[in-house]
């Protein structure tokens, strides 16, 4: 006789134990320390902080460890923790012009005030597996410290702005900045909301869309005006004090793309901007984000919307990997009630079909 499947509770508990065992791996291998993840898988930590919308290296490292290196799962863990945190206010906008620069490159000028600073980059490495790293005691190489750190490094976009060649972006003084983590998005979305969603958006998705604009799906002729990596101060103005207090320092990567614009009836020909930013060092992400940001401005700039990357609703509704991952994977949940309904209708339709055929044959 059939016995209904019982024991969901026990099955879940057992699955959790198996998962814990798999996460740990062979107990003969030493447990990985959070500091090792933070220090030696630092770009994974950067990505998890960026898409998890929470700047906390230790928590991101913990999430990566708990998620067994599955970064989307780690991002989800960090986000679920983040929502429970009390917020006591919003910081003042960070000023990336005052960044302590570790890397700064521009593809639009051969040289410029402050110079090009290559910094820590995979660029120009030959992608040859370095077998010496397999040796756990590989000697560390000390890099040369630049002789003159801290000379002024104006932003490239600001240099162009002096000539009026690039669109001016005035800070919105009065308008409250949206918050996609607290309010449902309404469309059309403003640029603040778009940039927040793109910054949190899945790197793979944003990369593919950014790439598509370079292949003609919403082409907007980007130049990498500037990419900068470094530390910026985070300031907060307590209402009772009325002046800003520095509460910490974060590492960010910022990319400003400079894009062609032919001008319209209302606006003279000038360069336009696409903007990307991330916590830590997520250079690929910020560049792709800047491409997509510019593509999404098509409507504002009076350009025809023809490509996926220009389609605000399509991009913003599908760029979040925590949402996407959950919904794709929910297909694992039982659907047998609905499937039963489908079985019922398919059987009826087949019976109708047979009856029709028999009827036709009889005529």
């Amino acid at each position: 006789m059939y016995v209904a499947v019982k024991g969901g509770e026990r099955a879940i508990e057992n699955a959790h134990k198996l998962l814990a065992e798999e996460r740990r791996g062979d107990p003969a291998t030493p447990e990985i320390a959070l500091s090792q993840i933070d220090e030696q898988l630092s770009l994974a930590v950067d990505r998890v902080m960026t898409e998890g919308s929470l700047y906390d290296r230790a928590l991101a490292a913990l999430a990566i460890k708990q998620a067994r290196g599955d970064l989307i799962e780690a991002i989800f863990l960090l986000r679920a923790y983040r929502t429970t945190l009390t917020r006591f206010g919003a910081s003042d906008p960070i000023d990336t012009a005052k960044m302590t620069i570790r890397r700064r490159i521009s593809a639009t000028y051969k040289d410029l005030p402050g110079g090009q600073v290559l910094g820590p980059t995979f660029d120009y490495t030959h992608r040859l597996l370095d077998f010496s790293l397999a040796d756990e005691a590989a000697p560390a190489l000390a890099a040369e410290v630049p002789a003159e750190p801290g000379s002024a490094m104006p932003r490239v976009a600001d240099l162009l702005n002096q000539e009026g060649l690039i669109e001016e972006e005035a800070p919105g003084e009065d308008a409250a900045v949206g918050d996609v983590t607290r309010n449902a998005m309404t469309l059309p979305a403003n640029r603040d909301v778009r940039l927040q969603l793109l910054a949190r958006g899945d790197e793979g998705f944003v990369l593919a869309l950014g790439y598509s604009t370079q292949r003609g799906y919403g082409r907007n002729h980007p130049f990498a005006g500037e990419i900068r990596l470094g530390e910026v101060a985070v300031e907060f103005t307590p209402p009772e004090l009325g002046f800003p207090v520095t509460i910490g320092e974060i590492t960010v990567t910022e990319c400003q793309m400079i894009n062609q614009f032919k001008g319209s009836a209302e606006r003279p020909p000038q360069f336009t901007r696409g903007y990307g930013i991330s916590f830590g060092h997520c250079e690929r992400k910020t560049m792709a984000m800047a491409n997509v940001d510019r593509a999404l401005r098509a409507d504002d700039l009076g350009e025809e919307v023809t490509a996926p990357a220009q389609d605000e609703e399509f991009v913003l509704y599908h760029c979040d990997n925590v949402e996407a991952s959950g919904f794709v994977q929910h297909l694992k949940l039982p659907h047998y009630v609905d499937f039963q309904s489908e079985l019922d209708i398919v059987r009826r339709l087949r019976a109708d079909f047979e009856a029709r055929r028999t009827g036709e044959a009889a005529e």
Binding site: M1, Y2, A4, V5, K6, G7, G8, E9, A11, I12, F76, R79, A80, R82, T83, T84, T86, T181, R182, N183, A184, M185, T186, L187, P188, E313, Y317, V322, E323, S325, G326, F327, V328, Q329, H330, L333, P334, H335, Y336, V337, D338, Q340, S341, E342, L343, D344, I345, R348, L349, D352
Partner: protein
């Protein structure tokens, strides 16, 4: 302060608020629920939060439940009609852990029932709240993928295309082929998705004495059907709405008018049918009802 139950009877999760959500989030969701109740069938956008369960696994229903539940509530959670399916177990555990509330498998005892894909067979009563988990709240979504457009269609009550779609099914198949998530009109004004319940359950929504709340976490929408509100499944005079029926009765309890799950019992085409609502089936068996495949029937 009389009348309020003392602090949660059970223990709650250390480091987290009662029922997980912070009070500010609960207030935001509560306001959305009140407005949803005042405009039956209309989807209210809300600032859905990341929950510790994945999107698509009931986060909308969980946020609604977390915002309404109190220490003296009794919670029932079902998935596919069953209390013991893994996701139902997981959600029930979440609330016993974070809110310390009493849980039950009995439809009658529950004050709040969170459900995925079914409405219980036993009639609900005044004062009960049924919380649906909703994957896609927009009934017009397969006709028009754009939110901006569907919002206009609702504003103008422009529901003709949905009728056309159903009529095309009749033209092609001789009958309406939609079987679950079958669209309904609420209070004669809003077209609404009932969530992926089988159309078998649609008639239970109409003028139900319980309050029905719908939460879509990933899509960030809440909507509601107050008690005794008209909920009509779309149909045509010459093709009236009809529900699934089976040639079999439940193999365990013999019920002839409940929604049945089909179970494959061998690799030779053997099938049996049992109630999808496990509480309903268990209650009937306790009352002595037996189906043809229940071994005790032979005794």
């Amino acid at each position: 302060m009389s009348g309020v139950a003392s602090a949660a009877g059970g223990k709650t999760l250390a480091g987290y608020n009662f029922a997980y959500l912070d009070e500010q989030t609960k207030r935001m969701i509560r306001s959305a629920i009140l407005t949803a109740v005042a405009i039956p069938g209309h989807q209210i956008p809300f600032g859905s939060r990341e929950m510790p369960l994945p999107y698509g696994w009931g986060t909308g229903g969980i946020q609604v439940t977390a915002s309404i539940i109190g220490a003296d509530d009794t919670l029932k959670v079902i998935d596919q009609g069953a209390d013991d399916t893994t996701n139902a177990v997981s959600i029930r555990r979440f609330f016993s852990k974070t809110a310390g509330v009493r849980t039950t498998e009995s439809t009658r005892e529950a004050t709040i029932i969170q459900t995925r894909h079914r409405i219980p067979e036993a009639p609900l009563a005044e004062g009960q709240i049924l919380v649906y988990q909703v994957p896609i709240p927009e009934p017009l979504r397969w006709l028009e993928p754009r939110e901006v457009e569907t919002r206009k269609m609702h504003a103008l009550s422009e529901y003709g295309p949905m009728h056309v779609q159903l009529y095309e099914q009749i033209a092609t198949f001789g009958r309406i082929a939609a079987t679950y998530d079958y669209p309904v009109m609420v209070h004669g004004r809003y077209l609404m998705r009932p969530s992926p319940i089988p159309k078998f359950d649609n008639p239970k929504m109409d003028r139900n004495p319980a309050l029905q709340l719908f939460g879509a976490g990933r899509e960030k929408r809440i909507y509601a059907v107050p008690p005794y509100t008209s909920v009509k499944s779309l149909d045509f005079d010459d093709h009236p709405f009809s529900v699934e029926s089976w040639e079999h009765c439940c193999g365990l309890c013999g019920a002839g008018a409940s929604y049945l799950d089909e179970i494959v019992i061998d690799d030779k085409g053997g099938r049996m049918f049992v109630c999808s609502d496990t509480d309903f089936c268990t209650q009937r068996q306790a009352q002595g009802f037996r189906g043809p495949l229940n071994s005790e029937a032979a005794e």
